[in-house]
């Protein structure tokens, strides 16, 4: 039976958050939340009404072995970015570069050479009034796209930018990344890297925080540009 039309829906949402909904009844409710959007919507309303902020005073550091156990049991190593794409690596690299500077090495001379050697600009994205806003450059191995904003564009507090690939062969836009800021580095899966070729386009839309809820652009497309090489 569909729960969305059940007169007890509010009592079920309340009991779920309160903890008095138990056993098979709770499992039925959880299934309905996944399967019936109206039930999810109602629970969301209850969550926003009945979610006072927990006091951080009640927090306790978990045992050190806790994370290690999750890492092993869930085989999380499979989902780790390779070392050279991790933020930690780039941070360490930045630190090393700073140290090199301190040591008197002329990093200023070195960096532009390194950068141009490793990245090739493939598109410039324009706004509707033809103002160039964003430069997109691809790494030589085609696995990383670097976005650089020529002009500052700030998203609202409840918004994200989403980068889309409009394939050369047509078809639905493919989401490449959800961005907090337009200056970003995006890791490209091999399957999508191949599609970044002449005839395809890149576009940026404004989406709710966290990105498009539907998998297709829902907000206004603010920037678009052809891939040139």
């Amino acid at each position: 039976m569909r729960l969305a039309r059940d007169p007890r829906l509010d009592a079920l949402c309340g009991g779920y958050l309160l903890g008095t909904l138990r056993g098979p009844a709770r499992r039925r409710f959880e299934r309905a939340v996944r399967q019936e959007p109206e039930v999810a919507l109602r629970l969301r309303h209850w969550e926003s009404t009945f979610s006072p902020r927990y006091s951080e005073m009640i927090g306790i550091q978990p045992s050190r072995s806790g994370w290690k156990r999750l890492l092993d049991e869930l085989d999380l190593a499979r989902y780790r970015a390779p070392w050279y794409r991790r933020l930690g690596f780039w941070r360490a690299w930045a630190l090393a570069a700073t140290l090199a500077l301190l040591a008197g090495v002329s990093v200023q001379l070195l960096l532009p050479v390194l950068r141009t050697a490793e990245l090739v600009e493939v598109a410039r994205l324009e706004s509707a009034d033809k103002v160039e806003v964003l430069s997109a450059a691809l790494s030589k191995d085609r696995r990383m796209l670097r976005l650089h904003a020529v002009r500052p564009v700030i998203s609202g507090p409840a918004q994200s930018f989403e980068l889309w690939l409009l394939p050369a062969e047509g078809g639905a836009p493919i989401s490449l990344a959800v961005l907090g800021a337009l200056d970003a580095r995006v890791a490209l899966p091999a399957s999508q890297a191949e599609r970044l070729r002449v005839g395809a386009k890149l576009a940026v839309s404004v989406e709710p925080a966290g990105g498009s809820p539907t998998g297709a652009p829902t907000g206004p497309v603010i920037l678009v540009g052809d891939i040139r090489s």
């Binding site: 509010d10 009592a11 309340g14 009991g15 779920y16 958050l17 309160l18 903890g19 008095t20 138990r22 939340v33 996944r34 919507l41 629970l43 969301r44 209850w46 969550e47 926003s48 009404t49 009945f50 979610s51 006072p52 902020r53 927990y54 006091s55 951080e56 005073m57 009640i58 927090g59 306790i60 550091q61 978990p62 045992s63 806790g66 994370w67 156990r69 999750l70 890492l71 049991e73 869930l74 999380l76 190593a77 499979r78 989902y79 780790r80 970015a81 390779p82 794409r85 991790r86 933020l87 507090p157 409840a158 959800v178 890791a187 899966p189 709710p208 925080a209 966290g210 990105g211 809820p213």
Partner: protein
């Protein structure tokens, strides 16, 4: 202060199951595990059980990250519900005493220990308002309704536990909970509607 927008981003990255999902999940764990462990410990009151509940809950968060409602603005509430429900299952299957050293007048104080009612960061204005309304509406409930709700929430009591603890028939207690929740919702909705 846990930022719901950041938590949502991390949960969505976790759900992608791509490169970097493990890092997002680890950040989520580092940010939320202490609070969630505290939530579990408040309910089961035994450290080793609370650690198990935390482990089971993060396993569930990893496995069902894609089921987070994409429009949710309260991912922390989603995680808290997972932890609380796991803790309640453990309470039901273990012989954990919940009613020791608990007197009725302490019930209201329990909520003040659990929650931070003070004004939060600016971007949480709606949340602040909701929290204040909730507290005011709770205070406006009949004493028996309020006490049952607080005992159920703060101590993970089932209808049966409540009936035993309050020495009232099961049906009476169920009625308090049902009416308490209904009145609370009506009060909050009545107070928010004119502002919409």
């Amino acid at each position: 202060m846990l930022d719901n927008r950041e938590l949502k981003r991390l949960i969505l990255s976790t759900a992608l199951r791509g490169e970097g999902s493990a890092e997002a999940f680890e950040t989520l764990y580092r940010m939320c595990a202490p609070l969630l462990l505290g939530v579990a410990l408040r309910l089961v009151r035994r450290r080793e059980l609370a650690e198990e509940i935390l482990h089971d809950s993060f396993t569930r968060i990893w496995r069902s990250a894609e089921s987070l409602d994409p429009m949710s603005t309260q991912p922390l509430a989603w995680m808290v519900a997972i932890v609380r429900n796991r803790a309640i299952d453990v309470l039901e299957s273990h012989d954990v005493s919940r009613v020791d050293a608990l007197d009725a007048s302490a019930a209201d104080e329990a909520l003040d220990q659990l929650f931070d009612w003070s004004p939060g960061p600016e971007h949480d204005l709606d949340l602040q308002r909701a929290a204040r309304l909730l507290r005011d509406c709770l205070a406006g409930l009949q004493a028996a309704e309020r006490q049952s709700l607080v005992l159920a929430y703060a101590h993970g009591m089932s209808h049966r536990d409540l009936a035993a603890h309050l020495k009232k028939p099961l049906g009476t207690v169920k009625g308090w909970i049902r009416r308490g929740l209904g009145n609370l919702r009506e009060c909050v909705e009545r107070c928010t509607e004119p502002a919409r």
